[in-house]
C-alpha cells in the first residue's frame, strides 16, 4: 500500500534522509525505530505529503503522491490519520471539538452526533469526562491520547503514529498498544508507527524497520530483529550505550 523509493531530504546543508526504501503492505503494522533526530518524523511526514521529497518517490496504492492536485491530496488524507509527536491539538477548541474536527468539516453529521462519536473515541483511548476541557489544561500523556482519538475519529484505512506511547505510564502505554492492535485486527488498518519503546515495538509490529544514517538499514519481523546480526540494530534494541552507534552532539 505504501512504497517509499530512494527518498532523500535535506534541510539546508543537512541531509536527514539519504535514500530511504521501505514498503508497507496493506493491513500491515510497520514499526520504525531509530535514534532521536535520525529523521523518523521527517519520514512519516512524507507519507502524508506534509513534506515533499528532494529525491525519490512516495507511492500510495501504486501512484506517486507528489503528483496529486489539491483535490486528490485531500481524498488521500481523508483515508489517512496522523498522530503528531507533540499531539498538535488545536488549542482554540475543546477536546471533543478536536476529536470531531474532521467529522464536522467533511460530513453533515449534527454536532451532537459528532460529540457522541468523539466521546466514543475518547473512551477507546482511556479518556472520559474531559470532552469540554481545553487542551491547555491537559497533561502531556492525555494530550497524546486526545491526538490519537482525533487520528482515528474518521476510521481511516491507514494511520501514522509518531511516538504514540512516549510520555505514558507503562499501563497506559499497553492500553494504547492494544488499541493499535485491535484497530489493525478489527478494521484491518495499515499503520506506520514510530517509537523508541521496544516493548511496544515488539508487541504491535508485523515488521520492524531501523532508520540509521538516513537509510533503512534493516527490516524484519520482531523475531528477525531480536536475532539480528547487525551490531547497530542490536545495540539499539538492547539499549546499550556502548556500540557502533556514534552519539554526537545532535543525539539527544
Amino acid at each position: 500500500m505504501i512504497r517509499i523509493e530512494g527518498l532523500t531530504k535535506s534541510f539546508g546543508d543537512k541531509a536527514v534522509l539519504d535514500g530511504v526504501d521501505l514498503e508497507v503492505k496493506r493491513g500491515e503494522s510497520m514499526v520504525v525505530i531509530g535514534g532521536s533526530g535520525s529523521g523518523k518524523s521527517v519520514l512519516l511526514k512524507h507519507i502524508i505529503r506534509l513534506l515533499r521529497p528532494d529525491g525519490g518517490r512516495v507511492l500510495i496504492d501504486g501512484s506517486d503522491i507528489s503528483g496529486l492536485d489539491e483535490h486528490g491530496l485531500n481524498d488521500l488524507r481523508r483515508r489517512m490519520g496522523m498522530l503528531f509527536q507533540g499531539a498538535a491539538l488545536f488549542d482554540s477548541m475543546s477536546v471533543w471539538e478536536n476529536v470531531g474536527f474532521a467529522l464536522r468539516q467533511h460530513t453533515s453529521l449534527k454536532p451532537r452526533e459528532v460529540r457522541r462519536i468523539a466521546s466514543e473515541k475518547l473512551r477507546m483511548v482511556g479518556l472520559s469526562g474531559i470532552e469540554d476541557v481545553m487542551p491547555a489544561d491537559l497533561s502531556g500523556g492525555m494530550r497524546k491520547r486526545v491526538g490519537l482519538a482525533r487520528a482515528i475519529a474518521t476510521e481511516p484505512e491507514c494511520i501514522l503514529y509518531d511516538e504514540p506511547t512516549t510520555g505514558l505510564d507503562p499501563i497506559m502505554a499497553d492500553i494504547i498498544n492494544d488499541l493499535i492492535l485491535s484497530l489493525r485486527e478489527r478494521l484491518s488498518v495499515t499503520s506506520v508507527t514510530i517509537t523508541h519503546d521496544m516493548t511496544s515495538a515488539f508487541k504491535i509490529a508485523d515488521r520492524i524497520a531501523m532508520l540509521y544514517s538516513g537509510r533503512i538499514i534493516e527490516v524484519g519481523t520482531p523475531e528477525e530483529i531480536r536475532k539480528t546480526s547487525s551490531p547497530v540494530v542490536s545495540q539499539f534494541v538492547a539499549g546499550r550505550a556502548e556500540g557502533p552507534i556514534r552519539v554526537e552532539g545532535g543525539y539527544a
Binding site: G12, D13, K45, I48, L50, E70, N74, D75, R77, R78, M80, G81, M82, F84, G86, A88, L89, F90, D91, S92, F101, A102, Q105, H106, R150
Partner: protein, 266 residues
C-alpha cells in the same frame, strides 16, 4: 553557510547585496501568492462561519474602545491646533470643516488602520505563528482542511468588513470631539460650527476614507497572517513574526495611504 564557503571572496559583497534585494522581492511574491489563494477560497465550501464570527468580534468589537478614544482626542486636538493657527489670519470659522475633512479623508481610516495593526495584526501573527510551530497547521492539512481557507480567509474577510465599520465610528467620534472642544472650550457658536462642518463635507470624502479602510483591512490581515503562517523557530520565532507583522502592517497603512490618496484625489 555552504553558499558562503563556496563563494569567492571578491563576489561576497555581491552575494550580500543580492540577499538584501531578494528579501523584499520574495516577501512581495509570498504576499501575492497568499492573496491569490485567499481570494480563490473565499467562496469555496466548507464555510467556517464560526471562525468568521470570532474574527469579526476580535477585530471589530474588541478594537472599538481604543478606536473611539483615539478618535475623540484626535478630533479634539485637531480643533485646538487649527483654531490657534487659523485665528492668526481670522479664519477660525473654518475649524469645523478642517476637522470633518481631516477625519473622514485621512485620520479616521489611518488611525483605525494603525490601531488594528497593533491589536488585531499582532494577535493574528501570534496565533498563526503558534499554530505553525506547534504543528497545528500541519494537523489541519492532515485532516484534509486547507489552512489558508480555515485560518486566513475569515481574518481577511473580517479585516475588509470591520476596518470601514470602525472608520465610520472613528469619523463620527472625531468630529464630535472637535465639536466639543470648539463649542465648550474655544467658545464657537454650535449652530455655526455645525453648519461649517456640513458645508464643505461631501459624501465623496466619506467614501474615499472608507475605500482606504477596506484596503487597509485587507492588507493588515494578509500581512499579519503571512508572517504568522511562515514563522519558524519556536517561541522566539513567533515573537519575531509578531513584531514584523505589526511593523510591516503599520508601514503598509502609511505608505499605501499616500498612494491611495493621490489616486483617489483624481
Amino acid at each position: 553557510m555552504r553558499a558562503e564557503a563556496s563563494t569567492p571572496a571578491l563576489l561576497r559583497p555581491v552575494e550580500y547585496l543580492g540577499a538584501i534585494l531578494m528579501r523584499p522581492l520574495s516577501l512581495a511574491g509570498g504576499l501575492v501568492i497568499m492573496l491569490a489563494k485567499t481570494l480563490r477560497l473565499v467562496f469555496a465550501p466548507p464555510y467556517n462561519l464560526r471562525n468568521l464570527f470570532r474574527q469579526l468580534v476580535e477585530i471589530g468589537v474588541n478594537s472599538l474602545p481604543v478606536v473611539l478614544i483615539t478618535a475623540a482626542f484626535t478630533g479634539a486636538v485637531l480643533a485646538l491646533q487649527s483654531y490657534i493657527g487659523f485665528k492668526r489670519f481670522g479664519a477660525e470659522g473654518l475649524v469645523g470643516s478642517v476637522v470633518a475633512l481631516s477625519m473622514t479623508r485621512e485620520l479616521g481610516p489611518v488611525l483605525t488602520g494603525l490601531i488594528v495593526s497593533g491589536r488585531a495584526g499582532a494577535a493574528m501573527a501570534a496565533e498563526l505563528g503558534t499554530m505553525r510551530v506547534t504543528e497545528q497547521i500541519d494537523a489541519l492539512e492532515t485532516l484534509a482542511t486547507n489552512p489558508v481557507q480555515y485560518l486566513v480567509v475569515p481574518r481577511f474577510l473580517s479585516g475588509i468588513v470591520m476596518l470601514p465599520a470602525l472608520t465610520v465610528f472613528s469619523d463620527a467620534v472625531g468630529i464630535l470631539g472637535g465639536y466639543f472642544v470648539s463649542t465648550r472650550v474655544l467658545g464657537a457658536n454650535p449652530t455655526l460650527y455645525l453648519n461649517r462642518t456640513w458645508d464643505y463635507l461631501t459624501i465623496t470624502d466619506i467614501y474615499h476614507g472608507l475605500y482606504k479602510a477596506i484596503f487597509f483591512g485587507g492588507a493588515i490581515a494578509l500581512i499579519s497572517c503571512y508572517q504568522g503562517y511562515h514563522s519558524e523557530g519556536g517561541a522566539a520565532g513567533v515573537g519575531r513574526a509578531t513584531t514584523r507583522a505589526v511593523v510591516m502592517a503599520s508601514m503598509a497603512v502609511l505608505i499605501s495611504d499616500y498612494f491611495l490618496s493621490s489616486w483617489l484625489f483624481q
